[in-house]
């Protein structure tokens, strides 16, 4: 049963002063860090953009719509290349040079075999791309609420921002927990595209281990299992959250 031999994971890997298991663990660590940092950007920016799209104010809704149309419709892989290779060439030369020559060495990332710049580009790219998808979920959540709710809030003397804060968003966020769970899962899976710009996250590490050891089956089965554990944990946590914030007696109009 050669293909079920996992012992090689404990052998010393050629670089980074770690075992192959260490490589794998650093991959898991950076998958988590990249995804969670990107999610923070995606969620906050996406919520703001989603709200902007639903306001009756043109100079708020139009830019948000343009943003969503651009970021949602360019393949994520292309966006990775755009941020990493093209963006530094588009900004003023001095800034571009600083990004390429100084910025990567400002901070040495622990257990990583890539620089701060690769990490930053990956987080920005994944965050801004996912923000466009989150924005659409937030928009549809808000728009699925009865129009009368806005009127009721306004009639009580709330300003429009207060209507969003106290009336619309608390319900909209509850309603969109299931689709947001899906976006949150997708960000962990999409973080694997960061390997094309040199971020050694889980998938990249698995590939690297495979290249050095030719232990294809055990390597990728472990990587697969780790992805499943991560996503199952996310699903579990989001279910808990959904239960915690459930409104007593409330059944959404979608079904019973």
């Amino acid at each position: 049963m050669d293909w079920l031999n996992f012992a090689f994971f404990l052998e010393k890997a050629p670089s980074g002063g770690m075992t192959y298991l260490g490589w794998l663990a650093s991959g898991v660590l950076w998958t988590l860090i990249v995804s969670i940092c990107a999610w923070v950007i995606a969620f906050s920016l996406g919520a703001v953009l989603g709200v902007m799209r639903t306001t009756p104010i043109k100079w708020l809704s139009v830019p948000a719509t343009i943003y969503v149309d651009i970021f949602r419709n360019i393949p994520l892989l292309v966006q990775m290349f755009l941020w990493y290779f093209v963006m530094p060439e588009l900004i003023p030369t001095a800034m571009g040079d600083w990004l390429k020559q100084t910025y990567p060495y400002l901070l040495t990332l622990p257990f990583a075999q890539f620089s701060l710049w690769e990490f930053t580009a990956a987080v920005i790219c994944l965050g801004l791309y996912t923000a466009s998808r989150v924005a659409e979920q937030v928009r549809s959540g808000i728009q699925s609420l009865p129009r009368g709710q806005t009127n009721a809030g306004l009639a009580m003397g709330f300003t429009l921002p207060q209507v969003y804060r106290h009336v619309l968003l608390p319900m909209a966020f509850r309603l969109i927990i299931p689709p947001m769970t899906s976006e949150f899962l997708t960000i962990f899976k999409n973080s694997s595209t960061a390997l094309v710009i040199g971020v050694l996250e889980l998938t990249a590490q698995a590939r690297q281990i495979n290249e050095y050891t030719f232990q294809t089956f055990p390597t990728f089965i472990v990587a697969t299992a780790v992805y499943i554990v991560i996503t199952m944990t996310v699903i579990f946590c989001m279910r808990l959250l959904e239960k915690r914030v459930a409104v007593p007696g409330y059944v959404s109009q979608g079904g019973h």
């Binding site: 709710q149 306004l154 319900m171 409330y250």
Partner: protein, 245 residues
């Protein structure tokens, strides 16, 4: 003293005119019932009073303030005019008590204690004190609408607008809501009510406005005149149809 003064109000949705030169007034302490067939603009008219529906022509003055006016603080004006909706529109994620307190605190700046006392007093008044910790979805339609009335009253309004408050209710629940409204009327609240409940109109209305398809006010007269000697043949026709049984 005129509380609500509607002067020559017209409104269009694109090409389509939905309110045609509507003029009427509601005096302090007066109860005015607005009725008419669907599509006559009753709900639209009542929503122009607190600026939920903008209008293109004419003027509405509420307690001395122009609703469409450039310098009018619309949020402040709205906080002084209570409104009750056809579909209740309680905030589903808040308990009944929170529904009654939130605007008192956030809009009027009352302390949590003041708001709570006031809210519970009104809840008691509409007979729902034992439901104070429930959520809207756990109440019947009639109970939700009574909470909605209490919520509007919690702001100490100078006038109340009712937009078909019983149209979405099961027949059995209509009376519990009308009872609260009758009581309010007897206490001297200024009320403008869009409703088909002619029994309510007979009991407490001072005046009845009849609107016709296309958004015109066809009849605007005292209750007795409206029910006993309506001037327009169309009003007689409408009354004969809805009072036939």
């Amino acid at each position: 003293m005129v509380m609500i003064d509607i002067k020559g109000v017209s409104k269009w949705y694109g090409e389509k005119q939905v309110l045609v030169d509507c003029t009427t007034t509601v005096a302090k302490g007066e109860v005015v019932v607005v009725c008419g067939p669907s599509g006559s603009g009753k709900s639209t008219l009542i929503k122009t009073v607190n600026g939920l529906e903008p209008f293109q022509k004419g003027e509405i003055i509420v307690d001395g303030l122009s609703v469409g006016g450039k310098d009018t603080d619309l949020a402040k004006l709205r906080s002084r005019v209570g409104m009750v909706f056809q579909n209740f529109e309680l905030f589903p994620h808040m308990s009944v008590t929170k529904n009654l307190c939130i605007a008192q605190e956030k809009v009027l700046g009352r302390t949590a204690d003041e708001a709570h006392d006031k809210g519970l007093k009104l809840l008691d008044r509409v007979g729902l004190i034992e439901h104070k910790d429930k959520y809207p979805a756990q109440l019947s339609g009639g109970q939700q609408q009574r909470v909605a009335i209490a919520r509007a009253l919690s702001m100490d309004p100078i006038a109340m607008l009712f937009d078909e408050p019983t149209s979405a209710l099961d027949p059995e629940m209509i009376n519990e809501v009308l009872d609260v409204m009758v009581e309010l009327a007897h206490e001297g609240m200024t009320m403008m009510c869009v409703t088909h409940e002619m029994g309510f109109a007979r009991k407490v209305a001072d005046r009845v406005i009849f609107m016709e398809k296309g958004g015109t006010i066809l009849e605007d007269c005292s209750k007795d005149e409206f029910f006993n000697t309506p001037r327009k043949p169309r009003t007689q026709d409408f009354l004969s149809k809805i009072l036939a049984h």
